[in-house]
Amino acid sequence: MTGHGFTEDQVQRYARHIILPNIGGAGQRMLIDSSVLVIGAGGLGSPVAMYLAAAGIGKIGIVDFDKVDLTNLQRQIIYGTSDVGRAKVKSAVERLRDINPTIEVVPHQTILTSDNAFEILGRYDVIVDGTDNFPVRYLVNDATQMLGKPLVYGSIYQFEGQATVFLPGQESPCYRCLFPQPPPPGTVPSCAEGGVFGVLPGVVGSIQATEAIKLITGEGAPLVGRLLIFDALMMDFTSVKVRWDADCPVCGKEPTVTELIDYDAFCGVPHADPTP
């Protein structure tokens, strides 16, 4: 039990993992030695970051430029009412350090762009996408493919969620294989316009945290090559195949996108104003 260089606190804290088949002391050591970047500290990022902190991921980075708004609290469970008006990353870091003071938590209070994506993503083993817009989703996809990092994808709208894992490497699909183009601007309402069922990101984010932990420990079958589709209203989980596209501009046989693109122009969707 006390192998793998655990402190007394860690032996107690992670006791239920350490006695668990398929995790054990060796798996817990892998979690402690790993790092995960959570992009977006919103509905998805809240449960992702909290579960990863509780699980003992050694270093967790959080990217978000925004401040906590009262309308966030219906689903963004990492925040409390006293956090309204504060920077999301500041509040999130405090909450995570309270959940688990033995890990390192790194705030990145910025908008992810083609200028900083490689530098920020490059510092972490696994990337979890919980952002709320298409430009950043395509940017994160391209950057993880180019950096050779696994990407745990999740997205939500109203009562429905999607989740999958994109691995870099040969003949493994990426987000552009799944959806080659974003919808034209204005055709898909945002959560602010269309509403979102508050519990939905809790379900999808928990699935993302599950997959991140499985990728790190190497246990089980990852959600690769399959897209999980969750319909909360019908309580229906379905999965469909995600195939590698040989003509994919990023991960296909002859890539045409070989550097990060200005996705504002690509999608025609401006980022939210970073200075509210």
């Binding site: 939500i156 709208y157 429905e160 999607q162 919808p183 269309g194």
Partner: protein
């Protein structure tokens, strides 16, 4: 008869029904059948040039129709067709 599962965003065309039955020998005919009964529904799936949008996927059972026959994909009794738009919420 083929069962067609719809995302929430398209259920306004079917009076809130999450899934409807439709007929057609191919996906193209199936969509025509749907459009005749639920006007406006298929403009969310088909582009102006008549082809499939690149941000809305259509699956027959668990396979993306882009890897089957696209709009000419043959429909069989008991197939389940799922329409899946890209969403970005987080």
């Amino acid at each position: 008869m083929v069962r067609v599962k719809l995302p929430t965003i398209l259920r306004k065309h079917t009076g809130g029904e999450p899934a409807v039955d439709a007929e057609g020998a191919t996906l193209r005919e199936l969509l025509e059948n749907l459009e005749a009964r639920y006007p406006g529904l298929t403009k969310n799936v088909l582009a102006n040039d008549g082809g499939l949008h690149r941000f809305v996927n259509v699956y027959v059972n668990d396979e993306d129709v882009r890897y089957l026959g696209s709009l000419e994909t043959a429909m069989r009794e008991g197939d389940v067709v799922s329409i899946l738009p890209a969403v970005a919420g987080g």
